[in-house]
Symmetry: C2
Subunit: 290 residues, 2 copies
């Protein structure tokens, strides 16, 4: 039987920690690294991050937009980076933020979560503007193949607040509604046909949410109970002042299930400083958990 994503994630946590290293081949970073602003540059950048991450972290998160910039050649580069990450036994979260309806959203799930697909990852990020139910095809595929899905819930940018703090008919904010819907989905799948206890109960579930590292949870009607058992992908560590104190609220709320993602603060140190930056971040994340 395929091992659920949540179990694999929990194992990575205990063996290699919570740090997730972003793979963001942004034009200005490529320049700082002395690489061309091209698909080949993005590939080289990605391969170097994978190499360095394999030494000091267990999870990587390629930002798909920075590959899509280069069209099909960028996707071919991404395929090689994904292959290298699999070979290095890193857990890969494709930061694609896809969302749509029906057969269209199914096709996104097929691209990212199907074993053998050229873009295969261990998990993907998704957007549920059309409701968590609109992602059903993706969630079902994820269960079948032991993959994970992180649904965008609460982000740290101020322009996101009017939407994410809007009140649904059930009294929840939109952000808290996403979290509650994902929790409900995890419970359903824990008792469902797949029979995997770890998708639902006390262990780490396979469906989680994205919550910005600096989000003030109370502003969005979120608290510690909201995230029980659910993996939380928290981008923004080491950026916008999320290091240390601010991250602690989220770490405390989401207990043992936060994936702490850092991109710019690691990548800005350049290719030579990469290993040291990853080690330093990994130590800092571990210290936050004490």
């Amino acid at each position: 039987m395929t091992e659920p994503f949540g179990e694999r994630l929990a194992r990575v946590f205990s063996r290699r920690g919570r740090l997730c290293v972003g793979i963001d081949p942004h034009a200005s970073l490529l320049e700082e690294w002395g690489l061309p602003d091209s698909a080949a540059g993005a590939r080289e950048f990605g391969l170097r991050v994978v190499d360095a991450a394999a030494g000091g972290a267990g999870i990587v998160k390629p930002q798909i937009a920075f590959f899509e910039r280069h069209g099909s050649a960028g996707y071919a580069a991404l395929e090689q980076v994904l292959e290298a990450a699999r070979a290095a036994e890193l857990l890969v979260i494709a930061d694609a933020k896809r969302g749509d309806l029906g057969t269209s959203v199914d096709a996104y799930g097929e691209a990212w979560l199907t074993p053998g697909s050229p873009l295969e990852a261990d998990a993907m990020t998704a957007v549920a503007y059309q409701g968590l139910g609109s992602l059903d095809g993706v969630l079902e595929r994820a269960e079948r193949f032991g993959k994970g899905v992180f649904v965008l819930a609460a982000t740290s940018n101020p322009e996101g607040l009017p939407t994410q703090a809007a009140i649904r008919a059930d009294g929840r904010t939109v952000a808290a509604g996403v979290v509650a819907d994902v929790a409900e989905r995890n419970r359903a799948s824990g008792s469902g046909a797949s029979g995997s206890r770890s998708s639902g109960g006390g262990a780490t579930a396979s469906f989680g949410v994205v919550v910005g590292a600096t989000v003030v949870l109370a502003e969005l009607g979120l608290d510690r109970a909201s995230f029980a058992g659910m993996p939380v992908l928290a981008p923004g560590f080491g950026y916008q002042g999320a290091r240390g104190a601010e991250l602690r609220e989220l770490l405390s709320a989401a207990a043992q299930n936060v994936v702490v993602s850092a991109s710019r603060s690691i990548l800005a140190d350049g290719p030579r400083g990469l290993g040291a930056a990853i080690d330093e971040h990994a130590r800092e994340v571990a210290a936050c958990l004490v």
Copy 2:
């Protein structure tokens, strides 16, 4: 100076009508068409739709998910389809539903809305779960290059309602908030540095919204005034019973600016019936406007 997207769209409307033909190389459609379920099949499918659309419509809308399914090879196929559509002088709306923050969302804009990019389209669809402000980089790029952006506002699937009908602090529903924010952005750009009256005032603006053809506007606090001057992309014509009567509400509300998109109901007739199906749909759409 680059001609704004809204002006180009208005010209297509008056010369070739409102019908937008979806390019959805779904696995089951590829099979029905006798094409392989591969990137080559998707390319062939797309090229045939472009050919047929050039005869009877002015706008095409490739659904990106069905190309992404095939990884980089699928994107290479899409690039050829986009090139053929440009050569046929069709207006192309890339149905990508991208959304993110900062440099990531900028990179999506770069991919789809930059002249000379391998994935260049005339407009793209976007998602503003993180607020319309999160799309600023995309909107600015669109203005600079005369491109359009359609932001997902209201969709016809029932699971979308809890989020889209949630009430923001300003009293608007999330869906009506997106529409109001886009209208405000069109006004700002009409009076702004770009100086193009057509981005704002009475003519067709360059930023619009996606509203499902069967959406009940009042349920989401939307009415005729909401859409003044703004292009509205309405997918779902000819599907889920949106033909005729139900579309009239939207057509009446959005006056002369609705892009009526049909996919399955045209494509299901197979490659041989394509030209006739497009003509029939074009006539039906024109009749709705009387």
